[in-house]
Symmetry: D2
Amino acid sequence: MSDIEIARAAKKIHIRDVAAKVNIPEENLIPYGHDAAKINFDFIEKSKSNPDGKLILVTAINPTPAGEGKTTTSVGLNDGLNKIGKKSIVCLREPSLGPCFGMKGGAAGGGYAQVVPMEEINLHFTGDFHAITSAHNLLSSLIDNHIYWGNELQIDQRRITWGRVVDLGDRSLRKVNVNLGGVSNGFPREDKFDITVASEIMAIFCLANDIDDLQKRIGDIIIAYKRDKTPIYARDVKADGPMTVLLKNALMPNLVQTLENNPAIIHGGPFANIAHGCNTVIATKAGLKLADYVVTEAGFGADLGAEKFLDIKCRKAGLTPKCCCYCCYS
Amino acid sequence: MSDIEIARAAKKIHIRDVAAKVNIPEENLIPYGHDAAKINFDFIEKSKSNPDGKLILVTAINPTPAGEGKTTTSVGLNDGLNKIGKKSIVCLREPSLGPCFGMKGGAAGGGYAQVVPMEEINLHFTGDFHAITSAHNLLSSLIDNHIYWGNELQIDQRRITWGRVVDLGDRSLRKVNVNLGGVSNGFPREDKFDITVASEIMAIFCLANDIDDLQKRIGDIIIAYKRDKTPIYARDVKADGPMTVLLKNALMPNLVQTLENNPAIIHGGPFANIAHGCNTVIATKAGLKLADYVVTEAGFGADLGAEKFLDIKCRKAGLTPKCCCYCCYS
Amino acid sequence: MSDIEIARAAKKIHIRDVAAKVNIPEENLIPYGHDAAKINFDFIEKSKSNPDGKLILVTAINPTPAGEGKTTTSVGLNDGLNKIGKKSIVCLREPSLGPCFGMKGGAAGGGYAQVVPMEEINLHFTGDFHAITSAHNLLSSLIDNHIYWGNELQIDQRRITWGRVVDLGDRSLRKVNVNLGGVSNGFPREDKFDITVASEIMAIFCLANDIDDLQKRIGDIIIAYKRDKTPIYARDVKADGPMTVLLKNALMPNLVQTLENNPAIIHGGPFANIAHGCNTVIATKAGLKLADYVVTEAGFGADLGAEKFLDIKCRKAGLTPKCCCYCCYS
Amino acid sequence: MSDIEIARAAKKIHIRDVAAKVNIPEENLIPYGHDAAKINFDFIEKSKSNPDGKLILVTAINPTPAGEGKTTTSVGLNDGLNKIGKKSIVCLREPSLGPCFGMKGGAAGGGYAQVVPMEEINLHFTGDFHAITSAHNLLSSLIDNHIYWGNELQIDQRRITWGRVVDLGDRSLRKVNVNLGGVSNGFPREDKFDITVASEIMAIFCLANDIDDLQKRIGDIIIAYKRDKTPIYARDVKADGPMTVLLKNALMPNLVQTLENNPAIIHGGPFANIAHGCNTVIATKAGLKLADYVVTEAGFGADLGAEKFLDIKCRKAGLTPKCCCYCCYS
């Protein structure tokens, strides 16, 4: 059977029953269908007094072209720990819609080591990436809007570093000229679109400790420079508040299940080549309060992904993995 | 109290209890939080044997600059009908994220005639508009991708009529040049971004009878012309299948409640200036099977919006309003 | 024989001998080859005390697609007047290089009523149009340069009305985006190229009374507006001096001959559709001091070209035609 | 006295008297004013039976920021040789109009070692650079025109290597998008403008042996590639004939004089950084037939300019300098 056939044949249990396995009451779930739910902040706040579980990192000696293997190993390891009676949860990254429509395919494990509902996870899921796309582009539009209405901040339109994003692999938009069409459309300039997973918002989102920290990090984004090369920040165009509003639901971790009905948190997904490549700090920390073992993964191979996990995510979030599992593919 | 204060003070009941009022079993709901749910197609299919309720159109003699009044009247009329013991449901349009961040504000009624959860409805809600944005832009990228890989269909890149969309009011993107940056980025051309509610997908989405009809309508979209002015269709670039996959959840109607806990369906929202300006046919028809009265609204004033409702939506969908309510503002 | 064969077979006399016919001493000629010369300003200044000849306008009842007929008639009329013993000179427009390479062909008369050296006249001739192209584009570059170096004048780059020119019919340049490529190349904006004959410099050049008047007229050009719609002038970017330097030789009228070795002045050539469509005031006035009759032509038909000749050129320059000759083609 | 005051105070002799010094009859001169003339091809052809003079190259050990020194040395050396009774001529490059309006100033020597008429030489002179600009841009327009009318040659518009030129230092045009504005204006693409002296036409022009060789070299220009990377040549769009017509007068060498009334030929002027940086082969060879000594210069310093002179120009043209003079500046 193909991965998708296996996923479709999965005997899923209701998400409230998955939650019950790690003692999350139903009233702390925000359901998205019957198979996925966000864990609300009340519960996360309350669980902070719990002791921390042990963090296990899955990485790879050698990366493979399509990056396969780490997620499957993580899911399998989590199912195995549960099988032998350990209370374990797996914390993974959300897949990008872009590559799903490209050659690379989705990213929810493979074979009998998958997370489900696979199709929802690979499509819109709980809308986190859409929220990040909206927040990112709201900032972009506020920058151009500021220039349009008099440019009080003296943004140098040749030195705008904040592009736009689209959650698709669309090479047509890599380099664009915007604000064309005359006086009422704005001041022409060169711009770019990245894929949403490459957004700085995605990286920030995954490093934020809570909603206030997220807003602060957003406010700190350098969006452009003046002629004299003085930096201009997102908060200078008053973007941090509205952007945080757009992200407030997305910041809650998503609970799903493995094929063996064990809990899995899938939350955040920055690219490992240009960002740290890890799921959210909020998800990993929540996992550590919920289970005795938390299996997580980092991007690419050990030389890049595990380094970023250890040097960036762990350092920023005060995490200490107790074990690293190195996959080796040939 | 302001609209938002009233909305926040609302005593909402669980969406399954709202559904129960119109006899929708919980297993036919796909919840999005506790206050909103999609009604699945199984139920819609089953309910087709029910008799139709009576359709009431709310329109306006004179449109107002911000378009206010019709939604409030519709919600109030629905609550009134329920108050006097009639089984009534209101079918409204989903608001666009764009104007919410502009001066116009959200669109979920006002005062004590609102639908809730107001903030969710005005932000991401159940993700329908994000799905439409993704589907629209997937087609855009497939067109440029087709040209990039040899242009077998001989698309004339000066005659591409299919632009891109963003769910924001962003004047910077009204007129853009895309595919810049050299050989690997594509063939430069002039392009545009519309706001998502102005997407042809939005119009089609609201006229579709079911998922197969939606796919057929998507396939029929003219995306470009050849040099000799022969039209090229969305199905020629094999876009109809993947786009429909992206839209399959979105096509299910969204159930919410009024401040008086009466059922409201909010689904679809094309602009009335460039499209028909009505909520989905699927929602209106589902409503007619659920209640004795369905209150709905059309865009702008009677001269434009009601005309489009009667001439386009009713004719295409085989609907016959039993009553038109003309608001008059001064 | 074709026009070009007739022209090539012409028995030209040395330009100093043509000049002698209207009493221009050789030292007042600036030769460009043996068949063409510019008449210097010393001579023009000295001849101002001469009495004026009679001005004859050749126009057309009905314009023809390629505009043929008026030049031929003018040249023929001039040759005829000379034949019957009158001292007559013909004052014509210089052809644009652009249409010469298009379908329209050159513009130096036809059959046995041509001016020669035909090929030189239709190509670079004495470089007048090249000088106008250079002067025009110098101003364009000074505008962008001013913006680049701090934009002290607060030019609104969306409201620059001064485009660029090329002396070719090149549709590719009708609408362009310039200043692309990053910080060191400038502030991106939308621009256009017109053909040189459509340059405002060409129109001004043909209305100027002398070099000082030309400089003043250049200084008066509105090149852009500020955000508050205040106009900005060419002299504000100090363009009038250098542009006049580039035009000083070009402003001297060009003397050539007809196939019958009668003197012809060919000087300036603005398009009649967007400008006045007449040869230079300096040439016409010089002609009136040199001969008893001056035959000249206006653009297109009587309804457009003769109107512009009478309403614009004659009024501005204080000229009064004694006779209008209406060609009628069928 | 400044350079320009010295130049203006020069006691020039008539160009026919300069020509007489090297035995060029007046009928072989094409005058451009009284101080400059082109030497026609009849004379050049006839003089080919003369013995060759000795070629002296002036170069520099160390280039200086503004490149000054070599021209002044060359002019001074030529005047000195004439002073001591040798029949010597100096062959120099024509200055670009661009830098004249920039900070660099003109290029006609300095102090009492200048060529005159200095202002004309630094402005339009005999129109050679205008002709090169026109020829270059004619090819550019023919390429876009070919694509517009069906693109029979299958030019890949992303792989057009032939840009456009302007005889100005205009950074705004370094990177542009052209063919914008809709169906009737063409297929949008990215383009560039170089300064005329950087045109490949300029380089070819200076290496051509005669008009037929020029046309062949123009025909050989690679203008673009197909999708499959097959090259497309200028002759494929039938540009070589019309371009050569535009260049035929320009190809005749220009005769002027030094302040001491000794003959100087100034002809052609490609940039030494991107081309060979030498005056025309035709001029140098003509000089060798006219005098016993020909003093010429190469671009920049010995390491770049003299290398290019020796490796490219001398090799291609069969020239052998008898002496190299190395200027050394500190």
